[in-house]
Homo-oligomer: 440 residues x 2
């Protein structure tokens, strides 16, 4: 049995009691970005300038490259570097530094933002240069990813989908309870929230026909997922033991793994999803660190049968992250929440995913994205994709204004949100929000 | 129907007659690297120094970064650049320049190496600095790859494998004749020839059991493939029409797509191969350009049913590349050829792969590797993997020294070679040669 080494993780505030930390930047109670969060993202000021790394605080962004240049990280390992890690178009340079640097940077930024610390608070010139309103910046893809892996770790999702195609007896494939099933996704088509998604064309086999056609997908779906970014990789040939997995992971984002179900159905036998997925995968722009999520660790589901020793995990392997997906079609004034679920429902946790992914010696690298697979919960109002919600279009969704949807139509916007709930504050991911553009 | 635009392709020598071009560097008749080839690779001199780009000529390497520095490309588009493209650890900077630059650089290198051109031939100082014997350099992974796609484009291979598992009636899946089936591979574990391959461990379901075990693979296999490198990508959302596909492709390498058949069998349903492949994929170090391969274009197999218009290709879509795979086990003095096949047997050609890959808008990028899938021919002595050769271990292979193999054993070396045969010379790929190391 393996347990985490908790020594290195410093919980800066206790979420079960009222928050003790407060920033001099005002933060609304339902903001996703209080001082307890401090996620990392990459942004460009609308006023011009190159992409650089920042953290979100309330409705503002703090430009960490400014703090770095001005020597505010002089007491951390960042000071020993010859190169900048925050004046960079991706987080990778910072991620590559490892957990000691992540911890020291986080503690320093937290300290600098505290209401009772005059250092940054009273430095008017630096504040003028380093803070932007979020409305005044463009968020960029935060991480450069070479390999993107998509797991299939929700038992509810795997069962629901399997039941649709193979019936309840054979819903779960024989391997499913023994290993976190996953496949390689397409890294090039990772895009950040706000980048609209073009309806893909592809081969579709019309019902009752033996002859495929080329057409825009008629079964465009979202998949509510989360993704974990690898911070530190492993050498080819050398697996990561599960008890070390946490040290290799940097943080998490929301993931909308867009799917064209009709393309997927025709192409995926026997080698898995390909063009049905590779037209776009959208992520939220702020990477919430595992350190910020640490207070929200909870026990995951009981695993029966017990996994093989290399996958055994005792203790809190899940994270209590509230998730919701909403849709806003052209005729609606505001988004309508379709589903509410939770990251803690995942059967296989991220540490098991890392241990499994590398057990054959596969080398994970800084920036790799490990997506969870669609996160469905146990109830009909907690399903993570339209395939499940409408039962592959058989039971159309009825929207508040009377419109119906089997799958997504052009102009529809899908919005996913996620947050951990502390007492009186949230540690959140913001959202991933994208609109469907018509096929070319 | 679509045809290539042949205008841009200059065939520097005619392979059906005796070669007219000769280099001042001596080239043996069976060398893979005559002046008609001029492949690109990345190497480090054994005497020290960083990785840089070179071309192979006979048994030597010409350091192109030296020529670039000395202004030998002053009549080409390379001269307009502010940065070096050959003093680089990967070919990507050069590949990104596009076909005009590839063509001009190739013509210039060809001209400089000609026996009748005194410019480089008589420049003793440059020759001393720019030439190395291949034995005196270490070849590196030539291309930085973000996305690696593995197709499944040999009908013989797909049929043979399908027949083993589903019988002759259902050997080919219904989609197989309509589209080039493919899946995303693992880019991080691409390695260059000479890097030995560690036997992976993973979950295996023992015959007759319901309980998987964790063990080193007992069914380690090679797959004889070739891979095409994308030189110029496309914008997300904008497919590459098949008639433009050639302009996007830079060159080709040999690929050994190592496979752990027992891991693969247990894990691959329903999302495809994952850990059974991601422990290593080996490539040959020299990228042979499509321009060098141009004289060896031939008609591919008849496609019946006729593909959808976006995949239709008339004319010479195949390349006549002789391929062989050999094994050398510890007790053998020299390699034994197991199989001889040809790249021209592929049912789906590389241009169809590009058109299909991007039809959904998926963005290909400079450095992407498109592997062919195992290349099997029509006869029992032209099969591209042990799964087919030994019929999944049922008919062990008997080696010349009496040893047998169902699958690979530790210490076995697998060597793949490929070349186009001109009249009196070869345009070749060299080899991809790797030994199996025992599991950790």
């Amino acid at each position: 049995m393996t347990r985490f080494n908790y020594l290195e993780v410093e919980i800066l505030d206790d979420p079960t009691t009222a928050p003790t930390l407060r920033s001099f930047i005002p933060v609304a109670p339902n903001s996703h970005f209080p001082i307890q969060n401090l996620p990392y993202g990459v942004f460009k000021p609308s006023s011009g300038g190159s992409a650089r790394v920042g953290t979100a605080i309330g409705d503002q962004v703090l430009d960490l490259s400014v703090l770095e240049k001005k020597g505010f990280f002089s007491d951390t390992v960042l000071d020993e570097l010859e190169h900048s890690v925050f004046d960079e178009p991706f987080l990778n340079a910072f991620m590559r530094l490892g957990r000691r640097a992540w911890k020291e940077a986080r503690e320093q930024v937290s300290s600098l933002l505290r209401a009772d610390n005059p250092l940054l608070r009273d430095d008017k010139e630096t504040r003028r240069k380093a803070f932007y309103f979020q409305a005044d910046v463009e968020m960029c893809l935060p991480v450069f990813t070479i390999d993107y892996t998509d797991f299939y770790s929700s038992k509810y999702h795997a069962f629901n989908v399997g039941m649709m195609f193979r019936g309840p007896e054979n819903a779960l494939q024989p391997n499913w309870l023994h290993l976190p099933v996953g496949y390689h996704g397409r890294a090039s088509s990772l895009v950040v929230s706000g980048k609209d998604v073009r309806r893909p064309r592809g081969q579709i086999l019309p019902s009752g026909s033996n002859d495929p056609i080329l057409a825009p997908t008629m079964a465009l779906d979202f998949e509510l997922e989360m993704g974990a970014y690898v911070g530190i990789g492993n050498e080819l040939g050398h697996p990561i033991p599960i008890e070390k997995a946490r040290d290799h992971l940097f943080g998490m984002v929301l993931v909308n793994d867009w799917s064209a179900r009709d393309l997927q159905r025709w192409e995926y036998v026997p080698l898995g999803p390909f063009l049905g997925k590779s037209f776009a995968t959208s992520i939220s722009p702020w990477v919430v660190t595992l350190d910020a999520l640490e207070p929200f660790r909870v026990e995951g589901p009981l695993q029966d049968p017990e996994p093989l020793p290399y996958l055994r995990f005792e203790g809190k392997g899940a994270y209590d992250i509230h998730l919701e997906v909403a849709i806003q079609v052209r005729s609606m004034d505001q988004p309508h929440v379709l589903s509410r679920t939770n990251f803690k429902y995942l059967y296989w946790n991220v540490f098991q995913q890392v241990a499994h992914h590398s057990i054959n010696g596969c080398n994970l690298q800084t920036g790799d994205l490990l997506a969870s697979g669609t996160i469905s919960g146990p109830t009909p109002d907690s399903l993570g994709c339209l395939l499940e919600i409408t039962q592959n279009g058989k039971k159309p969704l009825i929207l508040p204004n009377g419109e119906t949807r089997r799958y997504l139509q052009d102009g529809d916007r899908v919005i996913m949100r996620g947050w951990c709930q502390g007492k009186g504050y949230r540690v959140g991911f913001g959202e991933v929000s994208c609109k469907i553009l018509p096929a070319l």
